[in-house]
Amino acid sequence: MGTFLENLVTGAALGSIYALISIGMTMVYGLLKILHVAHAGVYVFGALLGLLAFRLTGSILFAFPAAVLGCALMGYLLYRFMYRRVQDEKPLIPLIVGIGMFTAMGDAYRLAAGPYSISFEHGLAQTGIVLGTFHISFNQVLVIGSAAALLVLVWLMVNKTKTGLAWRASAQDREVAMGIGVNSNYMFGLNFMFGSALAGIAGVLVGLYYGAVNANMGEVWAYKVFVVMVLGGLGNVTGTVIAAYLLGLAETFIISSWGYFLPRDAIAFICMILVLILMPNGVMGKRKQV
């Protein structure tokens, strides 16, 4: 019984991380129909900023605001000086631009922070809740808890605010939305900042969860998040969040019961290709809503 519960928590923690990263990417796809690969680079930037803040101030409380501010700024700059120029080109151009920027960012972090993992150790890591043989570590509680809080914030932002309405309208049909007065550039800039800030927090959480940050930690997540987006129905935030948790749990339980018959990301990609072919609108249904 303990193993099942532990796997459940591990899967939920993994799902939370997938969710936080993929929300930003799904919203950008919803609005601009661009696959924003560089988003994973923003996430790594968040982890590095968080580590820097933690090293300077000694407490992880400062790590989160540093990551949020830094990543929101980076997100906006990426939109303003990169994507805006190519957003109306054939979908291939922004995709390759994104991949190029992601590769460059990965290498830049390696040159700045060194090629090896840097410890993001904080005293509380070893404490946790113990119920008989069932252990939940502080890190897991931190990740799942903050993800839950952030998801509520995202839901409010998307469904209950004027900006959220503008985002949903633009996702349905950008021209029409602009026609009725949505200043798209401002909206998109804001969306990039919001999504990137989320990714920044996810970066810090992953840094804490694994107690380590390294320059190419973005690589696996960058492509895993594609799978989550496709499974969740592109541009569909609620669908993506559900798909994120499903993938996190599925991976954990598959590996726990059958071990690694294939590396983690190969398993995820097989699911993605099957969904892409069989259910083009993704598991969660209609592609259009946000």
Binding site: T103, A108, Y260, L262, P263, D265, A266, F269, L276, I277
Partner: protein
């Protein structure tokens, strides 16, 4: 005699030219992008290695067979590609790259993580090919593939491809069977990548799944995109530039992926047709410099 070190560089340049050309055919002509072409190089390399090591087949049979096996998987991907929009096709090929590496790592007969060792050097007239001979073989294959692609591009098959790339539905209205030509582009492209894989295996004599990871796919794409899709000279010169330059400029070595990444971004944003493609500043400049001696069927006026 040219020292072996340059043979190594020449051989890797030839292999990169083939890989770059394979992307050139697929993306440049038929407008289908693959972000996982290292997977097809892997299939070619492993097919050729297994045929020569386990089944003792001679290289001269194994290499074409490797191209065929790679083309078969390419055919499968082509059929899948028909159902997918452009950018989703790109993600699928990316996924294929991870899956192929995963299969090579975990399926029993591919030597798992140990890879395949002591792959035989190709035999010619009874004894092992020397380093110079192997480079000559690579150059000959590059020449052959360039000629074949050049012919394809000029023939009506190339015309159909360009029609698909420019405006797929209009080409369809003109009677072009979109499915047939897209799949054909995949088959040709993956066959070339398979040949490159086979040459790589028989040069390095030792391959592991980790040689064909996703970063390699990015590099292959950079070679072609930087060079300029849509014209043969693009991928060829792009491959030469990006293989020789790092060897020559030592300081680039450590900043390799950073330079590739930034090049991709800048080229895609400001010069989508690539450095050596049509109308790129380099081609136009060279044309003005040499007074347009490069006759492209009276492009003047």
């Amino acid at each position: 005699m040219i020292p072996a070190y340059y043979h190594t560089i020449m051989t890797f340049t030839c292999i990169n030219i083939l890989l770059s050309l394979s992307i050139g055919v697929l993306a440049g002509y038929a407008g289908q992008v693959s972000l996982g072409h290292a997977a097809f190089m892997a299939i070619g390399a492993y097919a050729s290695a297994m045929l020569t090591v386990t089944f003792k087949v001679s290289f001269w049979l194994a290499m074409p067979a490797a191209a065929l096996v790679s083309a078969m998987v390419g055919l499968l991907l082509g059929v899948i590609a028909l159902r997918l929009k452009e950018d989703f096709l790109a993600i699928t090929t990316m996924g294929l790259n991870f899956i192929v590496i995963g299969v090579l790592l975990y399926a029993p007969y591919f030597g798992k993580a140990l890879g395949i060792g002591d792959i035989p050097v190709p035999m010619l007239f009874g004894e092992e090919m020397g380093r110079g001979m192997y480079t000559a073989l690579c150059l000959a294959l590059v020449a052959g593939v360039v000629a074949a692609v050049w012919w394809l591009q000029r023939s009506w098959i190339g015309l159909a491809w360009r029609g698909i790339r420019e405006a797929q539905d209009v080409a369809q209205v003109m009677g072009v069977n979109i499915a047939k030509f897209k799949i054909f582009a995949f088959v040709i492209s993956t066959a070339i990548a398979g040949i490159a894989g086979s040459l790589y295996a028989h040069f390095l004599l030792f391959i592991t799944p980790y040689d064909f990871g996703f970063p390699l796919s990015i590099q292959i794409l950079t070679l072609a995109v930087l060079g300029g899709l849509g014209a043969i000279r693009g991928p060829v010169l792009g491959a030469i530039l990006l293989t020789i330059l790092p060897e020559y400029l030592r300081f680039i070595q450590d900043y390799r992926m950073l330079t590739y990444g930034l090049l991709l971004v800048l080229v895609m944003m400001y010069q989508p047709q690539g450095l050596f493609g049509h109308k790129s500043f380099l081609t136009e400049g060279l044309k003005r410099l040499f007074g347009g001696e490069e006759k492209i069927r009276g492009r003047a006026a």
